[in-house]
Structure formats: C-alpha cells, structure tokens
C-alpha cells in the first residue's frame, strides 16, 4: 500500500504559506523521516497526511482513493497518528489509553468487544509493555508514555502510522527504544512517517528522508544522500560535517567555526 501526497499547499494566514506544493509518498514497510527547521512545514504536512487538516491545494490519497473521501472512522482504521504529547485530565491506566485506539471500531452506543480488548492486549505485548497494563499513565516515564501512544496507534489497526517528534524530550536510550520498536513494526509491514529534529536519528532509523525548508521539500531520498553537509546547510543555514564517513556508524554535527 502507499500513502501519498501530491502538491499540498497550506497557509494558516493568507499570503504566508507554510506548505507550497509538497509531494511525498510513504510505502508499506518503510520508515520515512521528515527533517527540517522549526516552522518549515513538517508538522502541518504530517497533519495533512493524517487527514487531520485539509490541504488548501493538492490531495492526499491512500492507494488510489483520496483520503478526503474516507469517513473519519474509515480514515482512522487506515492511518494512525501518534501525538507528541498526550495529557489526559484523569489518570487512565496504560491499558485504558491503548484501548482508546479501538475507537474507530466501537459504535456510539456500544462498548469495546472482546476482540477490541484482545487487540489492546496484543498491542501492549508487541511493544514489550505487558507489565505496564494497569500502571497509571502519569506514573510512566517519558519513554514509556511514548511507547504506550505507539501501542495505541497499533491497536488502531492502521496500515500507516504518523509520529510527531517521537524522539523529542527523551534520553538517548528511550529515543532508541521508541524508534527501534517502530522499526520492528515496519519490518512487519507497517508504513511509518516520523517528524524529527535529529538528523542522526534519521541516519540510524530511516529508510528514506525528506528534508523540508520554507514549506517545500528541498530534497528527498536515501538517508546518506539527504543527511549530508550540502543539503543540511541549505535547510538549516549553518555548516555541517560528517563524522565516520565510510563503513560503520555515521553522524552529522554542526561544523564549529
């Protein structure tokens, strides 16, 4: 399957577009990182890709069907969204939060079925969260919370998962846990789009990278080609150097001047 956007344009304020003609494709079984400076349009693009914001020009389609033609329930069964923050006013347990992912399958006047409960159990299990079932959400660490939200997206049963900065505010070990877990899901056939401010996470975990600047995609393709000094300097406006070019791990750093 493929989730693809063609020629998306969006402006919060008329005359000041945050997206101008962005086209991108996410296929099943791949992780696509969206990089780019603050305000370059990544998050707006992700919202459009998830059908949470209607683009003013262009369209998002799932295979051959425009996403705008889906009902909210149908859309939620196809595309899941993992927000950066989730602040419930009450202290739900991890399992209760994950079960909410079954919303597109539960009718207005009915309760989650045994099937829905099983899906929530399985999603927790798949992310190694079995022991967290009855833990209140507010007692979880930042990394555990993020994993619970990924599990909720998984319980949604969607073919594509969109993650808004899943590596923000996490220590390196937790960033690794979250992105490795989504990597596992991608190997199982899920399609994943991730916004991030970490070029090095893109090098580590992405199959493809799209680099945003000023509401457009500057360049997209293989992580090694995109996350390199030339494109990064054009996007972020400061020089970068590559560390560990060649075999083995590789990283980019701002060049000290």
């Amino acid at each position: 399957m493929r989730l693809w956007a063609e020629g998306l344009a969006y402006a919060y304020v008329p005359g000041r577009p945050v997206l101008q003609g962005v086209s991108l494709e996410i296929r099943s079984g791949e992780t696509v990182f969206l990089l780019g400076p603050n305000g370059s349009g990544k998050t707006t693009f992700l919202d459009c890709l998830g059908g949470l914001r209607a683009p003013q020009k262009g369209a998002v389609s799932l295979d051959d069907r425009p996403l705008a033609a889906f009902s909210p329930r149908q859309r939620a069964r196809a595309v899941g969204y993992v927000p950066q923050f989730h602040e419930p006013p009450f202290n739900f347990t991890a399992w209760e939060v994950v079960l909410m992912g079954r919303a597109p399958y539960v009718r207005l006047l009915s309760q989650p079925s045994a099937n829905d409960r099983r899906a929530a159990d399985e999603a927790l299990g798949e992310l190694g969260l079995d022991g967290f079932r009855s833990r209140p959400y507010y007692t979880l660490s930042g990394g555990e919370r993020r994993l619970v939200l990924v599990a909720r997206g998984l319980a949604q049963g969607a073919a594509f998962l969109l993650l808004d900065e899943p590596d923000a505010h996490l220590d390196p070990a937790n960033q690794h846990r979250v992105l490795q877990a989504t990597g596992e899901l991608v190997r199982g056939g899920l399609g994943v789009a991730v916004t991030s401010h970490s070029p090095n996470n893109a090098l580590l975990y992405a199959d493809r990278v799209a680099l945003f600047a000023h509401g457009q995609i500057l360049t997209q393709g293989d992580p090694h080609d995109v996350v390199s000094p030339g494109p990064l300097e054009r996007a972020y406006g400061i020089p970068f150097v590559v560390v560990g070019d060649g075999a083995g791990p590789r990283a980019v750093l701002p060049a000290l001047t």
């Binding site: 909210p72 927000p83 419930p88 006013p89 009450f90 739900f92 209760e96 909410m100 919303a103």
Partner: protein, 330 residues
C-alpha cells in the same frame, strides 16, 4: 472489592438506601409495613398513602436528581477536560432560576414553575452553545461563553427579584433558589422521569466513548471521533439531565462536583465504570441528604443549604488530595 464489583455495588446502592428512607420521618414506619405498602399487601390506609403518595415520589425525585447531577458532572469534567467543573457550568442554573422566578412572578402554579425553570435552563445552555459555536466550538470558548451567559442571566434574575413583591413573591423566589424537594408530588415525576430516562440511558450506553472526549481535539479526530458534533450532543444530553433536575429541586450544588470524584477514586477514571458508579452514588447521596433535610429539624432544611454545608468541607479534602496527587498546583 474489585473495581467491577464496586461499580455494581454503587449502582445498586440507591435501592437499600431508598428503602431505609421510606421508613424514616416524623411518622416512623416499620420495614414490614413499608414492604407491604410497596407490594400492595395488608397495611393501614394512612400508611399506604404516606408511603406511596408522599415519601415515594419525594425519594424517587431525590434519586433522579442525584443521579442526573452526578452523571452530568462526571461527563462535563471529561468533556471540558477540567476536574473542577460540574453540570451547571454552561448557564443552566441561572437560566432555570430565571425561568422559575418569572413563573413565580407571573403565574405561580407548580407545573408552570417546573416547565419554565426547565425551559430557562435549556435556553441558558442554548445561548452558551450558540456563542461557543460562533467562535469555533473549542473547549475554552464554550467555558467563557458559559461564564458570560451565566452572569448576564443572573443580572436579569436580579431585576426580576428587585421588581418582585418583597412580602410574597420575593421570599418564594428565594426559597425556590435555596433548593428543596418538599413540594414534590407524583405528577412532578413524569417530566423528570422522562428526561432522566432519555439522558441516563444515552450516557450509560455511550459511556465508553465519553473517554475519547477527554483527549485533545486533534487526538480524538485522529481516532475517528467527530469531536465537535459529539461534544454538542453530549452537552445537549447533559443539559437535559441538569435542567430537568434543577427544575424540580431548585439549586442543589456540590453533588455534580463531588460525587464524580468520589466515584473516580473508587472505580477509576474509565467512564465504562465511572458513569454507573457515579449515577448510583449520586442517587443514594441525595436520598440521604433529602431525608436529613426533612427529618433533622421540625422545619424543613433547604436541600441546597445542606449540600453546601456538607460540600464545602468535603471539597477541601478533595482539593488537598488533588494537590498531593499532582505534586502541586499547575
């Protein structure tokens, strides 16, 4: 007790409480006689009349008022993502107060008072919803619109009170606003019962999906929820519950705020359990309070006063607990 068992215990609590309340009063009645009166058995006519025509309607009204206020409070706390709100947030009580005051001023018949109070409550929330919808239907906008409507209607109520006869109508308005179930008769139960039946049935069936309204708007939409229509439907049903309760009981505060928190502490925040538990606990609590209101002194204590006397200290405990849980105010 496990949480599901506790939920059932709370839900069924009103039955024994109501039975006990039927026995209590200026004329105490033995359990056997109460049972006989209820089941059509052998019992003195005066006892039968007292049970079926006086105490049962009043206790039934108390139970419905309690369940309605508690359920609406629990729902509004989730919908407005704020643990410190209750069902009267959106102008329903000032609207109902104004309706009742107008009826007392112009046409003081029991049925008219109840009808106008109900209509006033619905109009109050309707104004809030219109304002809120016009400005985008966000949570914050609705709350601000509610505050605006509430203070405006309260001011109009002030005008009505000011023009009312200080020897006849003004005390009647004041007593009505203090809240009480002393004047409830069998025929008052029909509209309250109908509105409660519709509203409580809706919420008990839709209870799990109420969890989804506690999410940020965008999160809910990502899960396929039509957030804004759902929010208006839920506020509409909540209004039905609160307006029908207030039109019979007058202003009864605190129940809608405290009972949901007590229920949440016992069975957790998941609406699948919270809602039945809150309904049962609210019904039982108001039956107990109303029984105290009619028996503690020779004269009736206004129910709204009693809930306030009890509610304020309870709220303090709750608030301190809340602070400790969250590790401070934020």
């Amino acid at each position: 007790m496990t949480r599901p068992r506790l939920t059932w215990a709370f839900l069924l609590l009103p039955l024994p409480v109501a039975f006990a309340a039927l026995m209590v009063g200026r004329y105490p009645i033995a359990p056997g006689e109460v049972f006989a009166a209820l089941t059509g058995g052998e019992v003195a006519e005066i006892v039968r009349q007292l049970i079926l025509r006086i105490r049962l309607p009043r206790i039934g009204a108390a139970a419905l008022v309690g369940a309605n206020l508690a359920v609406a409070g629990a729902v509004y706390q989730g919908v407005f993502r704020n643990p410190l709100v209750e069902g009267r947030l959106l102008g329903v009580s000032s609207g109902a107060g104004l309706g009742a005051a107008l009826a007392l001023l112009l046409y003081p018949q029991p049925g008219v008072i109840q009808a106008l109070a109900f209509a006033g409550g619905v109009v109050g929330v309707g104004l809030t919803a219109l304002l809120g919808w016009a400005f985008g239907a966000g949570v914050l906008v609705l709350v601000i619109a509610g505050v605006l409507v509430d203070s405006f209607l309260s001011a109009v109520l002030g005008i009505v009170k000011y023009t009312a006869d200080p020897l006849g109508t003004l005390p009647a308005i004041t007593y009505w606003l203090l809240g009480g179930l002393g004047s409830v008769r069998v025929h008052d139960l029909l509209p309250l019962g109908l509105a409660s039946g519709v509203g409580l049935t809706f919420f008990l069936l839709a209870r799990w999906r109420l969890n989804l309204l506690t999410l940020a708007d965008q999160e809910g939409e990502a899960l396929g929820v039509r957030v804004r229509p759902m929010r208006f439907l839920v506020v509409g049903m909540g209004t039905l519950l609160v307006a029908s309760a207030v039109s019979v009981s007058g202003m009864v505060g605190w129940v809608g705020l405290l009972v949901p928190h007590a229920a949440r502490a016992a069975v957790g925040p998941d609406y699948a359990r919270l809602l039945p538990a809150a309904a049962g606990l609210g019904a039982a609590l108001v039956v107990v309070l109303d029984t105290m209101a009619r028996t503690l002194l020779t004269a009736e204590i206004p129910l709204g006063v009693l809930t306030g006397l009890l509610g304020a200290p309870l709220f303090l405990v709750l608030f301190l607990r809340f602070l400790r849980e969250r590790g401070g105010w934020r």
